[in-house]
């Protein structure tokens, strides 16, 4: 069935969101950037160019801690840039680490931020440092093109260091998909890497995307059960590996995941991806490309809040979607294979693979590598001849440690207090917070800077209840966009205003179930007051191995939210 096409690419630009015009007139991601970079009177890139800049992996931000102060001082906001790397599967070599470490110290705020999508972000890069920083990143053989923007974002891949054969089969696919869906424009190379433009040759630049790219961001993940450590159901497109031993048979395909929502707009909601079939490894690129073109053609280009693929699917139906996809592919998807997930966290500490290599998963609180930890990792990068793998839980795996290096690396970890004896509660190990203040322009409340304190308070209550040894997934986001994927946590927070959060409860332990809004717009006291009796009840009434989220549903404290349906905006509160 062909539905109404009045909101998609088939319409003239004037009928669409102004963002579409900006993209269309950007001369394939060029317009205004070079001029803006050389404007000496502002630390910003003026005009619409920042929207285009995102496609280059760069966000214009300002230090929000200083915003009022600087306005009062008759100074413009403290503009600075966030740069996100395109790092498929989160794989990074030690020599690359050293270069990125140097970029952070020289050009950014001397921290590396590991994200919930397995990559690095640099914060606090001033305009004048932007080009040198991008050049230095590229000198590490890593680029930033397509790390942000209305295109395919960083592609996730379970790091599974202990299953190296399977990773060796999956990772190249991850890379291929990422590269296949990269913007093809030479704008990036011209602006940042001083490539000379080819005269007259600009028009066939984007065979897949066209001049208006996608209606919105697009996200892909590859996962290997039983660990759902990339939260595959939060992605627009997911590939769930089916492996026979270490041989990759193919992937169960799921579509339509996404977290983003907007307060008081019930038409926006988090959604888990739906399984639609199966494909073999050599069909992966075609599936990815056709899902992307489908969304390119049918996605809503009028209302950006309604432009993610999850809405295209809900508006037109999953069956329509599958049919249209198969029409584009020219072949039918296979039958989905069964799969089972047991967790979505990381296994911290030492692991050893059958090949004799060791792996150390380091807990990085909210992904922020800085100070002593940064020193330690620089030292390790100097010793290490394996790889680093970033996890989608903002942690870091020092992977493929050769037997003869293990003692040295362990010694560095111990020297910096980062070894296995590091005292970390289970609650903290399983918690994540998005960046939020002071850099994120969309943040409504603290997140990265606040969650650690809140966890200390929750830990005290848990210990009192005798729950110190029980893992619970806690995630906090500074606004409803849900960058830490709080809507699939057992305890989730989304910022509403300074010091105020929505509290979500009852998500699944391994990302299989959405949480329900439990309290709206409450401060810390209300949060602690609400959670204390629930912890007590959980301690008293839980069944063997029952997770906190599951318990809340079973005991009737929270009603289940069924995956794939709009979640009622106002929760029922308890019950």
């Amino acid at each position: 069935m062909d539905r109404d096409r009045d909101r998609d690419l088939s319409q003239p630009l004037e009928r669409l969101n102004p963002a579409e015009t900006v993209k269309a007139l950007s001369d394939y991601l060029r317009d205004g950037i070079a001029e803006g970079l050389s404007d000496p009177l502002t630390g910003a890139i003026p005009g619409d160019a920042p929207q285009i800049l995102k496609f280059h992996g760069i966000y214009q931000q300002d230090d929000r801690d200083l915003r009022d102060e600087r306005r009062h001082q008759k100074l413009e906001p403290g503009f600075e840039f966030m740069v996100r790397l395109r790092l498929p599967g989160g794989v990074c070599q030690p020599w690359q680490w050293l270069k990125l470490d140097a970029v952070a110290r020289r050009h950014a705020n001397a921290t590396l931020r590991l994200t919930t999508r397995q990559t690095f972000q640099f914060h606090g890069i001033l305009k004048g440092n932007l080009k040198p920083a991008i050049q230095a990143i590229n000198a590490a053989m890593i680029d930033t093109l397509g790390a942000c923007g209305d295109d395919n974002r960083g592609v996730l891949c379970s790091p599974i260091p202990e299953r190296s054969a399977l990773h060796a089969a999956m990772f190249p696919l991850t890379k291929r998909v990422s590269e296949h869906l990269m913007p093809q424009t030479r704008a990036y190379h011209e602006i940042w890497l001083d490539e000379t433009p080819v005269a007259g040759g600009i028009h066939a630049e984007e065979p897949i995307y066209g001049r208006t790219y996608l209606p919105r961001k697009f996200k892909i993940a590859f996962v290997v059960p039983p660990d759902n450590d990339v939260d595959v159901f939060a992605n627009d497109l997911g590939f769930i590996a089916s492996a026979e031993g270490d041989t990759l048979a193919g992937f169960t395909v799921c579509v339509g995941g996404g977290m983003g929502r907007t307060d008081n707009e019930p038409a926006t909601y988090p959604r888990l991806a739906d399984v639609i079939g199966f494909c073999t490894p050599d069909q992966v690129v075609a599936v990815a490309e056709q899902v992307v073109t489908l969304q390119r053609d049918f996605g809503d280009r009028v209302e950006r809040k309604h432009a993610r693929m999850k809405y295209t699917i809900d508006d037109r139906g999953l069956d329509w979607f599958k049919q249209e996809l198969e029409r584009r592919l020219g072949w039918r998807l296979g039958e989905a294979r069964p799969f089972a997930f047991t967790s979505n966290g990381d296994r911290l500490g030492w692991l050893e693979g059958p090949d004799g290599l060791s792996h150390y998963t380091l807990f990085v609180e909210n992904g922020r590598v800085k100070g002593e930890m940064m020193e330690a990792l620089r030292a390790i990068a100097g010793l290490h001849d394996g790889e680093f793998r970033l996890t989608a839980n903002q942690n870091l795996i020092i992977a493929n440690i050769a037997p003869n290096r293990r003692a040295d690396i362990a010694a560095v970890l111990d020297a910096y207090g980062l070894g296995e004896t590091r005292p970390l509660s289970l609650l903290r190990r399983n918690a994540m917070a998005c960046v939020a203040l002071p850099t994120c322009g969309l943040a409504m409340a603290e997140s990265e800077r606040y969650l650690p304190d809140l966890l200390t308070k929750l830990d005290a209550i848990l210990t009192e209840c005798g729950l110190g040894d029980t893992p619970i997934i806690t995630r906090m986001s500074g606004c409803p966009n849900g960058c830490s994927r709080p809507y699939i946590a057992e305890i989730g927070f989304s910022g509403r205003a300074p010091g105020h959060y929505n509290l979500y409860l009852g998500g699944g332990f391994h990302g299989q179930r959405l949480a329900r809004l439990y309290l709206e717009n409450v401060g810390e006291d209300r949060i602690l007051d609400a959670l204390t009796p629930l912890f007590r009840a959980y301690a008293a009434e839980r069944q063997v191995d029952e997770h906190f989220g599951d318990f809340l549903l079973r005991a009737g404290h929270v009603r289940e939210v069924l995956s794939g349906t709009p979640s009622p905006e106002i929760g029922r509160g308890p019950g």
């Binding site: 502002t42 630390g43 306005r71 001082q73 008759k74 100074l75 413009e76």
Partner: protein, 604 residues
């Protein structure tokens, strides 16, 4: 004798004298008073050929002055008044307005000048200075002269310009009627004495008084048209201005502190125009005062002369009436004697001047009294060695048209470490640290007619300022943005873009609205090579030259020791390169711009 009776002894023709007498008879005393002021103002109009105006029966006295901030100008005018009161035909004329060709006709010359830069003449005196020192200077055998210097003894070349003039006039054959006086910043008393002596000297040689006006008993006042409705505000009678706002303009992480201070002038009757400065009478840091009293073992309550207010307690006098930080050669000389200190005495010897400079450069009074302790000093002796506390000037950073009852200042807070102490500038710290919102600060307006927007707002302007030098340009642009105006181009420099871009939001707005046509910035410490405004000027040489050809006025404000000469050199080079002139010709072009008031500087 009534106010209307006058006795004439030339230079008027009989006919004129009769007409004047006729007129005066019909006037009320107020009207007569007004006319006296009017005429006083009239004779001071520029470009009057003073020599021709005073057809000489006896040689009239020409009082030439070179002044930047108006001290020498004010003294010259006072001298003129006193001369006239003594019956001498006298005219005070700015050197900038004086036609050098007339010099050879002058028989009696009093020359008052300050010194700027590093011993240079004030801008307005530069042309006359060069003329007199050049080959075209006439022989002056018929001329009798006296020179008064205004300066500041903390500068190495104290009163250098006065010394130069004094010596040159002698070389040209002129005869000195009175020795030169070199006045320090406390110039009032020595200057008054010099004026008195000089006028007596000239009068003694004059045969007949030129004009005798006996207007008694009313005192001479300024022309009615200029009498303000409220009590007059000046350096001696400052207005207590309330601080309305005070904030730091430098963003976090800056190594500078520049304060924006908004003062209320409501009720003061003070008026100013862009280019004028505000004089601020500061108080010393109470800690510095206390430390000095303690170190010298003095009694804070001892009564000592406090200037115009009579005797007051020492602590108060040191807080309000004297400079307690600035080290002067005079202080060292006196102190050397009291302390019976050989090292200090040696330092004070004339042949050790350079060493004294070096010693004095990074030290203050407290360093000397700590290093050479003495016992039994009394407060009176101490204040006798100190200079009077001087007002500090700050360029007005606001337009009174835009902010009718306000005066905005841009104050760089002077702070630097030396000899293990953190030093703070007296006035800048007073304004920024010791006085806050709702406190009052004594102020007055100091005019600067040598830093004025073009009369025609359509005239293009180029403004060049670094650091607080941008302050008057904020006033300029506020004024110009009120109506339609010609193109305006601002060059601004400071240390760091992110923290030191003073008034960044305002410039951005002015650029957006089109009142400001262009802005170029140089942030010296944002890159490996230091980058200053003169580099930007040179980068845009072609456009700068084109603007000059379109009649642009050029304004330079800020640091006198580096910015001003570097910008000057850049302008000369631009004119030379773009106009295909040699260096000397280009210098001439710039000099002409200066004479035509198209190149104006306010540097400190």
């Amino acid at each position: 004798m009534t106010a209307n009776q006058i006795t004439f002894a030339t230079p008027l023709t009989l006919e004129h004298a009769r007409q004047l007498e006729e007129l005066l008879r019909t006037l009320s005393p107020e009207e007569a008073l007004w006319i006296s002021g009017y005429l006083a103002g009239f004779t001071r109009q520029p470009a009057v050929s003073v020599v021709a105006a005073a057809v000489a029966a006896t040689p009239p006295l020409l009082i030439l002055y070179g002044s930047e901030t108006g001290h020498a100008a004010a003294l010259a005018k006072r001298m003129e008044e006193q001369a006239v009161a003594r019956g001498l035909a006298a005219h005070a004329v700015d050197m900038a307005e004086f036609r050098p060709q007339e010099l050879k006709e002058v028989r009696q010359l009093a020359l008052l000048t300050s010194t700027y830069g590093e011993g240079d003449p004030p801008d307005s005196a530069a042309g006359f200075y060069e003329f007199l020192h050049g080959r075209k200077a006439p022989r002056l055998e018929q001329t009798r002269f006296a020179v008064l210097g205004l300066g500041d003894s903390t500068y190495e070349r104290f009163c250098q310009t006065a010394k130069d003039f004094d010596q040159r006039l002698e070389e040209l054959g002129a005869r000195r009627v009175q020795d030169r006086a070199d006045c320090d910043v406390d110039y009032e008393a020595p200057a008054a004495a010099w004026i008195d002596a000089v006028l007596t000297g000239f009068a003694g040689e004059a045969a007949t008084p030129a004009i005798v006006v006996t207007p008694a008993p009313v005192e001479r006042v300024a022309p009615v048209a200029r009498v303000a409705p409220v009590a007059r505000v000046d350096r001696k009678h400052p207005f207590p201005a309330v601080i309305l706002d005070s904030l730091v303009l430098n963003g976090r992480g800056s190594d500078k502190i520049t304060r924006h201070v908004e003062l209320s002038l409501a009720g003061s009757g003070l008026t100013y125009v862009p280019g004028d400065s505000l004089g601020v009478l500061p108080e010393n840091d109470p800690d510095a005062v206390a430390e000095l009293i303690e170190t010298l073992g003095l009694s804070a309550s001892e009564r000592v002369p406090g200037g115009d207010v009579g005797d007051i307690p020492l602590a108060e006098a040191l807080a309000r009436a004297y400079e307690v930080t600035t080290l002067t050669p005079r202080f060292i000389e006196h102190y050397a004697e009291i302390a019976q200190s050989d090292p200090l005495r040696r330092l004070a010897r004339p042949e050790n001047r350079a060493e004294l400079r070096a010693y004095q450069a990074d030290r203050q009074i407290i360093d000397v009294v700590s290093e050479f302790p003495i016992a039994g000093l009394d407060g009176k002796t101490l204040v006798g060695m100190l200079r009077k506390l001087q007002p500090r000037l700050y360029s007005l950073a606001s337009s009174q048209t835009a902010f009718p009852d306000e005066a905005h200042l841009t104050v760089a807070v002077v702070r630097y470490p030396s000899h293990a102490r953190l030093r703070k500038g007296v006035a800048s710290a007073y304004l920024s640290e010791r006085r806050g919102i709702d406190d009052t600060v004594p102020v007055y307006v100091e005019r600067n007619k040598n830093f004025r927007l073009p009369a025609d707002p359509a005239t293009p302007i180029i403004m060049i300022g670094a650091g607080t030098g941008v302050a008057p340009f904020r006033a300029f642009m506020q004024e110009r943005a009120l109506g339609s105006c010609g193109p305006s181009w601002l060059f601004f420099g400071d240390r760091h873009f992110r923290t030191d871009f003073l008034y960044q939001l305002e410039w951005q707005r002015l650029l957006r609205d089109g009142a400001l046509s262009r802005m170029d910035v140089a942030f010296s410490r944002d890159q490996a090579d230091k980058m200053y405004v003169q580099h930007r000027l040179r980068e845009h040489a072609r456009e700068v030259y084109a603007w000059l050809q379109d009649g642009a006025h050029v304004y330079v404000c800020g640091d006198a020791s580096r910015l001003a000469p570097d910008v000057h050199a850049a302008l000369v080079d631009i004119v030379a390169d773009q106009g295909k002139l040699d260096h000397a010709q280009a210098e001439d072009v710039i000099k002409r711009l200066h004479q035509d008031k198209r190149y104006q500087r306010d540097v400190y």
